[in-house]
Symmetry: C2
Subunit: 334 residues, 2 copies
């Protein structure tokens, strides 16, 4: 049966141009797309790229647009006819298998909760992040959707990460690590000490214990769990290594009197390393886990290529039925 | 007047050998040292290094030893005749200007609180860490002494960091940044949102606003304030970059088919970068700020060279009277 993916044509800094461009590259008889936005805007943009239209792309009118700077909850409430809300309603009603958007992430999360609702057993949905390591990627969650988590939220992050790693990354028993300041269960802040007890008792995850900040890049776990504040800080810190590194390397080349050719050849290496830390390398997108349906979040700066990768990933996540796997783990019936 | 520094001869993984070795290198008429430990142990070790003794090193009997693995508070209570407690008592009683130890950090902090007490206006002492950036070092505090901080603790970290940067790093108006997940005051977890209000209202510090994880290496602030859990995680993560980087670079060299000579020359660069991230580069030691007196904490793995650097730094911090500067800022009389 053909997959039908709903796409927010108005989401992201470069919408709707790049969305339609990406959609045109992947739409087929097996992968049918529904694009949501103000109809006239979509028609004009479509005319520019494909004057005759596309047999497997449907344009669906959603006259309101949620802006990148809009206050998430207020915008979702105030704009019932936005591309996000209408697109998500198609997903909820079974008229689409997944929803893909590069729009305002906060609004997308709020709209998903509002339209789709949480999965039973999940209090706080979370977007996992692919994190590079010396030995493949690991998943870190949460990385910013959730400030001030409770221990049971962290356990749910571990369960959602497990379900995703198992169904999409094909890791049968993903190792779940709890980010702390020492391996000992008694180390850490109040949140993590309480979470350690929950994690240790849980049969739904393969808990390998507390891990430290230095263990992530060394891949001590496949799923690294932390609260969204810590996750956001470490994610941005790690990304900044790739912007700071070329400067520091230049300083070392000068300080050590190395030939400039060294700096040149290092540029290729840094380029390669930067790719590892570039979200687009891993599809430039991630699922919003824990809501009742498959929602894919793209970076606001996504280009056509990101949509070209994200839409097939959406199909994969939807058909792997990650939501069902989460429900089983979170309800403890595993 | 000669400086008199009290040194915990039993602290650290390599005590007392390296302590005595380091002490012998720096002791002089202007820098007199008092070494604390079981007298016979000290005498035997001293005999090995300097059979005739040293005119400016006094060995003072402290028969009990607090081990690296001892439970801090319990050990401090149970061992009144430990090198830590007796050495700190000398400092408290004005018989020494500073106390230097590579021993159990938790015990050192507990013993300092017990013997010296807190500075008025400071609730939680903190050990700042030198953090490398593309443009000199910045200070990050707290990095692990304090889990579960309150907003006022974070403000005190900012004040202590300011006093230290001003008096010891010679930065007249150190920029203080509050680590968060976005520049906006309303971003962050509950702790940081409340702290932002306190920081914004404080006249004792030069607050430049919230900074993000990616801003530290780019030196957006001279003093970066965070709670000890976050600080510890990011410190260990950053240190791990230097162990993960050579592996990743090797992988890139292979993947890109670059000549092995590139990897070789990169080893020099990584070596230089590692130095920046090596605590020993900055003396391998840091003060315990916020207690009533100058206490210098060394890494447990410190060698003789670390003591050789730490003891003169202790003199500098004591004579700069960082404690007095903290008291002024923390009491808001600046």
């Amino acid at each position: 049966m053909a997959a039908r993916i709903a796409v927010d044509a108005m989401g992201g800094d470069n919408a709707p141009g790049v969305v339609i461009e990406g959609a045109l590259r992947v739409a087929s008889g097996d992968l049918q797309l529904l694009l949501f936005g103000p109809l006239r805007v979509l028609q004009e943009e479509m005319a520019r790229h494909a004057p005759k239209g596309h047999p497997y792309i449907a344009l669906i009118n959603a006259p309101q647009v949620i802006g990148m700077g809009d206050s998430p909850v207020a915008a979702v409430r105030a704009k019932p006819y936005s591309s996000m809300r209408i697109g998500l309603a198609y997903l909820r009603d079974g008229k689409a298998d997944a929803f893909v958007s590069a729009g305002n992430t906060g609004a997308l999360a709020a709209a998903s909760l509002f339209v789709l609702g949480r999965l039973l057993g999940v209090s706080r949905p979370s977007i996992p992040t692919y994190y590079p390591s010396i030995n493949g990627v690991c998943l870190v969650l949460d990385v910013g959707s959730n400030m001030d988590s409770k221990p049971e939220h962290l356990l749910q992050f571990g369960q959602m990460g497990t379900a995703y790693a198992r169904r999409v990354l094909d890791i049968e028993q993903p190792r779940v690590g709890l980010l702390s300041v020492g391996e000992e269960p008694a180390k850490g802040n109040e949140l993590v000490r309480a979470a350690n007890k929950l994690f240790s008792a849980a049969t739904s995850i393969n808990f390998v214990g507390n891990i430290e900040g230095g263990d992530i890049l060394h891949h001590a776990a496949d799923v690294v769990v932390c609260d969204g504040f810590v996750g956001n800080v470490i994610l941005k810190l790690t990304e900044s290594v790739m912007t700071a590194l070329p400067v520091m390397v230049g300083q070392e080349v000068a300080a050590q009197g190395l030939p400039p050719s060294v700096a040149d050849s290092f540029k290729c290496i840094v380029g390669g390393l930067k790719q590892r830390f570039n979200p687009e390398t891993y599809g430039g997108c991630a699922p919003l886990l824990g809501v009742n349906g498959t929602v894919i979040v793209l970076h606001g700066s996504s280009g056509a290529r990101a949509f070209e990768k994200a839409i097939p990933l959406a199909v994969r996540i939807a058909s792997a039925d990650v939501s069902a796997a989460i429900r089983v783990l979170a309800l403890g019936t595993a």
